[in-house]
C-alpha cells in the first residue's frame, strides 16, 4: 500500500469518479475496472476502506444478512479484519483498479455537465458521474491550536497496550476520551483535559471509572482547561488560573467527529429535514437530486458491508444505463411467497396503491421498508396482537380488514379498520404495552414494519410523520383521556392540540403558574413535585398514558405542583377551554376526571407526610428506573451478598452473568445493580447495523444471533449493562465439579473474567454483545430472582413499584 499515487490526472475526464474506498466504493471501482470503464477511486487515507481498517485488530467481521447474496467483483465472507483487508488489496490490484490514495475530496461542483472534484491538496479531478461512498464516519475533529499538526498528536488509539511508561495527554472528556485514558493509565502516566468542570457527557459506568482513577491518582485531570498550543514535547493549556505547561510524550485528541452531512449538502444534495439522523433522498438507481451524483453504502442508509458492496456494483450498471434486478429480489420473492405468486413489482405497486402512509415513499425506500417488514397472511379471527403485549412494531393493512377491541372488559366493542389503514402506532410511540387487542375481521394480508424502520421513516419522510401523528393523537386522546367519547365529539378539542417535546429535567409547568392547559403524556414519564418548606418533595411518578395539569383547570387555581420530564418525553398539549367544553358536554367523563382529581389530592396529601418515599422516587428516576419496564432491584435489608443471583444468571446464560450485583448505587435499602432496565425506548436499539436488538411481547429487550459485535449498543446504553464477549469455555457438569473440582463451578465466570481483563488471547474469537434477556426462554421467569435465597432480589415494573410499594 503505502503512499502510492495514481498518474497525474488533471486532463482526463473520467466516466465515473468514486469517492471513498469502503466496501461500497471499492466494489463500484472494481466493477468499473472489470468492465473497462474509465474511472478513478478517490480515497482520503493511504489505504483502502478506512472504516474497516480502523476496526479493532483481529476483529471478526460478519457478513450479515446471511440470506442476501453477494454481488460484487471482489469477494467477501465473514472472517478476520486482516484477512478481509488483505484480500481486497490483492483483488483491487489484480483488477487494475485506478485508485488514488491520499485524495481527500473537499468540494464537488457541477459545471456544463462535468463534475469538478477538488481535493485537499489543490488538485482537481473531472468526471461525468460521481459516486459518493464516503460512509458515515465523517471527519475527526482536529486540534485547531498552533502545533496541532505536530507528530506527537494523534486522533486514534488502536491498542492501548502498545504504549508503556509514557506520559500521555488525552484531550476530550467524552466516552472515547475517558475509555482511552483509563485503558492507557494501566501502563502510562495519563493526564486528561476536560473543557468543563465535570464529566457531564459520559455514561455512568465510565463516569465511575474515571472518577475513581482520578481519585486514586492514576489519572490527573485538568478541569475547565483547553489546549492553547502544542510544542514538540509538551502541551500548553489555558486554565482558569492562567496557562499551564504539561510535558508529555504523546497527545491523543478525542474531540469527536463531524458528520459528513455538511459536505454532502455542499455538493448540492438535499436532506428531507434537519433531524440529525435524516438521510439524503435517492432514487431507485441511487441517484440523488443532483443528476449524475450517486450515493451508495452507509451514507445512503445501508449500514452493512454486503449491502454496500452490492450497491457498488449496481450503481455502475445503472450509470451505464443498464437495468438490473436488485440483489434483494430473491429475498422479496421469498417474503411475498404467501401472496399467491404475483411478481415482486406487482406486489410493491399494490402496496403503494393500497396503503396511503407508504404512497409518498420513493421507490427505494418503499422497497427497503417492505424488505424489512414481515408479511402476514391471516385467516379471519386470527389475533394480530393482544392487549398488554409489549411489541412496538407498526401494522398496515394491505388486504382485508382488522378489528380493534378497544374495550378491555367487552371484546365485542370493535372498531373496524379497512384496507389501507394502519394500527400499532401507539405502542411504537409510547414504548408501552399495547392498549388494545387486534383481530383479523376477514381473511387479510398485513405488513408488520419493525420499530426501527418506522422510526427511520418518521425521521426522514415528513409526510409519514404527519399522517401518523394526526391519527395517533386522536387515538391517544380517545384511549387515555376520553374512552367512550366518539371521534366526532372529540374533534373540536383535538383540533386545538399541539405536540410538545421535552428533554430529561425540562419543566412542563411550575408550581404557582397560571394553569390554562393540560398535557396527555404520550411517551416518556414525568415527576410531580411540590415545594414544601423550601424543599422540593417528589409526590409522584406519572408514566405515559396519563394526563397532568387538569387539577388547576378544574379548580381554577394556580398550579399546585411542578411537573418535570423524568426522561425524554412527548406530550399532547390540550387547551384548557377546549377541555372544559368537552367536559361540559360529557357528564360521564366529567365525573371520571373529577374522581381522579380527588384521588390525586389525597395521594399528594399522603406523600407530603412521607418525604422519604419521594426521595426514593427521585433516586430511582435518577438511576433510569423510570424509563424501564422491568428493573432488577435488591432490598439491602435482606441481601446476604451470596451472589447466587449472578451465578444463576451465568449458569442459565452461557456462562456470562448479565448482572453485576455489587456495582450500582443504593439509597434507603434499595440497591440498583448493573442490569438491564428493559427501557420503554431502548437506547441500545437505536444504532444497531443488523437490527439485532428486539423487544419481545412481554417487554424483554434482547439481542439475537445476527449481532455483528460492533459495540454500538454497548456505547449507547446509558446504564452500562451490555458487554461484548465471546462464547466461554465449555463447562463440566455439576457433579464433576462438586466431586472432582473440574472446570469452572456453577456461576464462576472464568472465561468471562479472563476475557474482560486479559483481552489478547481471546481477541480474535468472535465477540458479540450480551445482555439480560429477562430469561425469556426459561420457564418460570428471571433466574436471578428465583435463585435468591432470601427474596432480596426482585424484578419490578417501575410504575407498580413507585406507586404501590412505596405508598403501601
Amino acid at each position: 500500500m503505502g503512499g502510492f499515487r495514481g498518474p497525474a490526472l488533471s486532463t482526463e475526464t473520467y466516466r465515473i469518479a468514486i469517492v471513498g474506498s469502503g466496501p461500497g466504493g471499492l466494489s463500484a471501482a472494481a466493477h468499473a475496472a472489470k468492465l473497462g470503464v474509465s474511472h478513478v477511486l478517490l480515497e482520503r487515507a493511504d489505504h483502502l476502506s478506512d472504516t474497516i481498517y480502523k476496526y479493532q485488530r483481529g476483529k471478526f467481521v460478519m457478513s450479515t444478512p446471511d440470506i442476501l447474496p453477494l454481488r460484487s467483483d471482489v469477494t467477501f465472507a465473514a472472517g478476520k479484519r486482516e484477512a478481509i483487508l488483505g484480500n481486497w488489496d490483492r483483488q483491487i490490484a489484480e483488477l487494475k483498479t485506478n485508485v488514488r490514495y491520499k485524495s481527500d475530496v473537499v468540494e464537488i461542483k457541477k459545471a456544463e455537465g462535468v463534475f469538478n472534484i477538488r481535493l485537499a491538496d489543490g488538485d482537481t479531478v473531472q468526471a461525468e458521474n460521481v459516486v459518493l461512498a464516503i460512509g458515515l464516519q465523517g471527519n475527526l475533529n482536529k486540534l485547531t491550536c498552533p502545533g496541532g499538526d505536530l507528530p506527537l498528536v494523534q486522533y486514534q488509539l488502536d491498542d492501548p497496550g502498545e504504549y508503556e511508561a509514557e506520559t500521555i495527554v488525552v484531550i476530550g472528556a467524552g466516552d472515547a476520551g475517558v475509555e482511552n485514558a483509563v485503558a492507557l493509565a494501566k501502563q502510562n502516566s495519563v493526564v486528561i483535559i476536560n473543557r468543563e468542570a465535570e464529566f457531564a457527557r459520559v455514561k455512568q459506568g465510565n463516569l465511575t471509572l474515571i472518577l475513581n482513577a482520578i481519585e486514586k491518582g492514576d489519572i490527573q485531570c485538568y478541569y475547565n482547561a483547553e489546549p492553547a498550543r502544542v510544542e514538540p514535547n509538551a502541551i500548553i493549556l489555558n486554565t482558569a488560573d492562567g496557562e499551564a505547561r504539561v510535558p508529555c510524550d504523546r497527545i491523543i485528541a478525542r474531540i469527536g467527529a463531524s458528520a459528513p452531512r455538511k459536505f454532502v449538502e455542499s455538493c448540492g444534495i438535499k436532506f428531507p429535514n434537519a433531524d440529525r439522523s435524516a438521510l439524503p433522498e435517492v432514487s431507485s438507481t441511487y441517484e440523488s437530486n443532483v443528476p449524475g451524483l450517486y450515493i451508495v453504502g452507509a451514507l445512503g442508509g445501508y449500514p452493512l458491508i454486503k449491502q454496500a458492496m452490492n450497491q457498488g456494483l449496481e450503481v455502475v450498471e445503472y450509470i451505464l444505463g443498464n437495468k438490473l434486478a436488485p440483489a434483494d429480489e430473491p429475498l422479496l420473492q421469498r417474503k411475498f411467497a404467501g401472496l399467491g405468486g404475483a411478481d415482486v413489482d406487482a406486489i410493491i405497486a399494490e402496496a403503494r396503491g393500497a396503503i396511503p402512509v407508504f404512497a409518498s415513499l420513493n421507490p427505494l425506500l418503499l422497497r427497503e421498508t417492505l424488505l424489512e417488514s414481515d408479511v402476514h397472511v391471516l385467516k379471519k379471527d386470527a389475533i394480530v396482537f393482544k392487549r398488554n403485549d409489549y411489541t412496538s412494531s407498526f401494522f398496515t393493512i394491505m388486504r382485508g380488514s382488522v378489528g380493534i377491541q378497544i374495550n378491555a372488559l367487552d371484546p365485542s366493542v370493535v372498531v373496524t379498520l379497512p384496507t389501507g389503514a394502519f394500527f400499532g402506532e401507539m405502542g411504537l410511540i409510547s414504548g408501552r404495552r399495547r392498549s388494545a387487542t387486534a383481530v383479523a375481521t376477514s381473511d387479510c394480508v398485513l405488513l408488520e414494519t419493525p420499530r426501527r424502520t418506522m422510526l427511520k421513516l418518521i425521521k426522514s419522510v415528513d409526510s409519514v410523520r404527519r399522517t401518523l401523528d394526526q391519527t395517533a393523537i386522536m387515538r391517544q386522546v380517545q384511549t387515555h383521556l376520553a374512552p367512550g367519547v366518539s371521534v366526532a365529539d372529540l374533534r373540536p378539542m383535538v383540533e386545538t392540540v399541539e405536540l410538545k417535546r421535552y428533554k430529561p429535567g425540562d419543566v412542563i409547568f411550575n408550581q404557582g403558574d397560571k394553569g390554562d392547559d393540560m398535557h396527555l403524556i404520550r411517551a416518556g414519564s414525568c415527576t410531580v413535585s411540590m415545594r414544601v418548606g423550601g424543599r422540593d418533595i417528589v409526590l409522584s411518578y406519572v408514566p405515559s398514558g396519563n394526563y397532568i395539569g387538569e387539577m388547576a383547570l378544574l379548580s381554577d387555581a394556580p398550579r399546585s405542583a411542578t411537573v418535570k420530564a423524568a426522561h425524554a418525553t412527548e406530550t399532547i398539549r390540550i387547551q384548557g377551554d377546549a377541555f372544559k367544553a368537552l367536559l361540559d358536554s360529557q357528564p360521564a367523563l366529567k365525573a371520571k376526571v373529577e374522581a381522579k382529581f380527588r384521588q390525586r389530592i389525597m395521594q399528594n396529601e399522603q406523600m407530603q407526610r412521607r418525604p422519604e418515599a419521594g426521595n426514593i422516587i427521585q433516586f430511582l428516576i435518577e438511576q433510569g428506573v423510570g424509563e424501564g419496564t422491568d428493573v432488577l432491584l435488591i432490598d439491602e435489608s435482606l441481601c446476604v451478598h451470596c451472589d447466587n443471583c449472578e451465578k444463576a444468571c451465568a449458569e442459565t446464560h452461557k456462562g456470562i452473568s448479565r448482572l453485576d450485583r455489587e456495582a450500582g448505587p443504593s439509597f434507603a435499602n434499595i440497591h440498583v445493580p448493573t442490569s438491564c432496565r428493559h427501557c420503554e425506548h431502548p437506547h441500545c436499539m437505536s444504532d444497531c447495523p443488523p437490527n439485532a436488538i428486539h423487544r419481545a411481547p412481554d417487554g424483554e429487550v434482547f439481542i439475537d444471533d445476527s449481532c455483528i459485535g460492533c459495540g454500538n449498543c454497548e456505547r449507547n446504553c446509558p446504564y452500562g449493562v451490555i458487554q461484548l464477549a465471546s462464547p466461554p469455555e465449555e463447562k463440566f457438569n455439576l457433579f464433576s465439579w462438586l466431586l472432582f473440582g473440574k472446570g469452572p463451578g456453577p456461576g464462576e465466570e472464568m472465561a468471562y473474567e479472563e476475557l474482560k481483563y486479559a483481552g489478547k488471547p481471546h481477541a480474535d474469537k468472535q465477540k458479540r454483545a450480551v445482555k439480560c434477556d429477562m430469561c425469556k426462554d426459561i420457564d418460570g421467569g428471571a433466574s436471578c430472582v428465583r435463585a435468591c435465597p432470601t427474596g432480596a432480589a426482585m424484578r419490578v415494573s417501575p410504575e407498580e413499584f413507585m406507586s404501590v410499594a412505596l405508598l403501601g
Partner: protein, 273 residues
C-alpha cells in the same frame, strides 16, 4: 419492603412444619401407653422413615441451590421450607428415638443432626441480622469505595509527614506500609485490631503533640483518625462477610457427616434386625 424467609408466604412453611410435628406428636402420645416407645416399633419405624426422608430432602437443598433456571418455586420457598422442616425434624427424630440416648452409633447420628439443626438456627439469625448490620456499617459506600478512600488518605498522610520530624515520618510510613486488613481467617473473624499500625501511628502523633509544626500535625492527626475509622469499618465488613462464609462451611460438613451417620444407622439397624 419485602418479607424475610421466616414470614414468607404468610408462614406457609411454618404451618406445614407445625402440621408434621403435630401429627407425629399425636401419634406418639396416642401410641405410648401400649408399648415402650423406641425406634423398633411400627410407629418408631414410620417416624424413622419420615425423619430419614426429611434429612435427605434437607441435604438436597445444597444441590437444588445450584440447579438454576428450573422448577416452579423460588429458592426463597426452598429456604423457608428448609428452615421450618429442619426444625420439625428435631421433633420427629426425637420422637422416633423415643428419648433414648446412649453411647452408640444411633445417638451419634442424633447428636450430629442436632448440631446441624442448631447451627441452622444460628444461620437464620445471621441471615436476618447480617444484611442490616452490613448496610449500616457501609453507610452507602461499597467496600471498594472505602478502600479507595483509605488509599487517598494514605497518600495525603505520607505527604504531610514528609514535612515533619523523622520519628513521625517513620511511624507514619510504617503505618501505611504495614497496616493490613485481616489476612488470616482468625484475624478476619476478629473484626478489629486495637494494635493496628495506623492506631500506633495515631497514638504516636497524639503523644508528640506540642513539638512544633502544630498545624500540619493537626492535619495529620485528623487524617489518621479518619483512616482509623475507615479501617474499623472495613474490618467489620470483612468480619461480617467472613462470619457468614464460616457459618456455611460449618453447616454443610456437619450435614454431610450426619448423612453418613444416617447411612450407618440404617445399615446397623437392619443388620441387627
Amino acid at each position: 419492603m419485602r418479607e424475610s424467609i421466616l414470614i414468607y408466604r404468610n408462614h406457609l412453611y411454618l404451618k406445614l412444619a407445625a402440621l408434621v410435628s403435630l401429627v407425629a406428636t399425636t401419634a406418639y402420645v396416642w401410641h405410648t401407653p401400649f408399648e415402650r416407645p423406641n425406634g423398633g416399633t411400627w410407629l418408631g419405624y414410620t417416624l424413622g422413615v419420615v425423619a430419614g426422608g426429611l434429612m435427605i430432602w434437607l441435604a438436597w437443598f445444597g444441590v437444588r441451590k445450584r440447579k438454576y433456571g428450573i422448577g416452579k418455586l423460588r429458592l426463597e420457598d426452598w429456604l423457608s421450607a428448609h428452615v421450618y422442616m429442619g426444625l420439625a425434624l428435631a421433633i420427629v427424630a426425637t420422637l422416633h428415638a423415643g428419648f433414648q440416648l446412649n453411647w452408640n452409633v444411633h445417638s451419634a447420628l442424633y447428636v450430629l443432626m442436632m448440631i446441624v439443626i442448631i447451627s441452622g438456627i444460628v444461620g437464620v439469625y445471621f441471615y436476618i441480622r447480617f444484611p442490616i448490620m452490613l448496610t449500616e456499617n457501609r453507610r452507602g459506600m461499597t467496600a471498594e469505595v472505602m478502600l479507595t478512600q483509605i488509599t487517598d488518605l494514605d497518600r495525603e498522610i505520607r505527604q504531610l509527614a514528609m514535612g515533619l520530624d523523622d520519628a513521625t515520618n517513620a511511624a507514619v510510613l510504617k503505618a501505611s506500609q504495614e497496616t493490613i486488613v485481616g489476612t488470616t481467617l482468625f484475624s478476619q473473624l476478629r473484626g478489629f485490631d486495637e494494635d493496628c499500625e495506623t492506631t500506633q501511628a495515631r497514638r504516636f502523633v497524639e503523644d508528640s503533640e506540642g513539638s512544633g509544626e502544630s498545624t500540619s500535625r493537626r492535619q495529620l492527626l485528623t487524617r489518621l483518625v479518619r483512616k482509623e475509622e475507615l479501617l474499623k469499618r472495613i474490618r467489620r465488613d470483612v468480619q461480617l462477610r467472613c462470619l457468614l462464609k464460616t457459618w456455611l462451611i460449618c453447616h454443610v460438613p456437619f450435614s454431610v457427616a450426619a448423612l453418613m451417620a444416617l447411612a450407618v444407622h440404617v445399615v446397623t439397624v437392619f443388620y441387627y434386625w
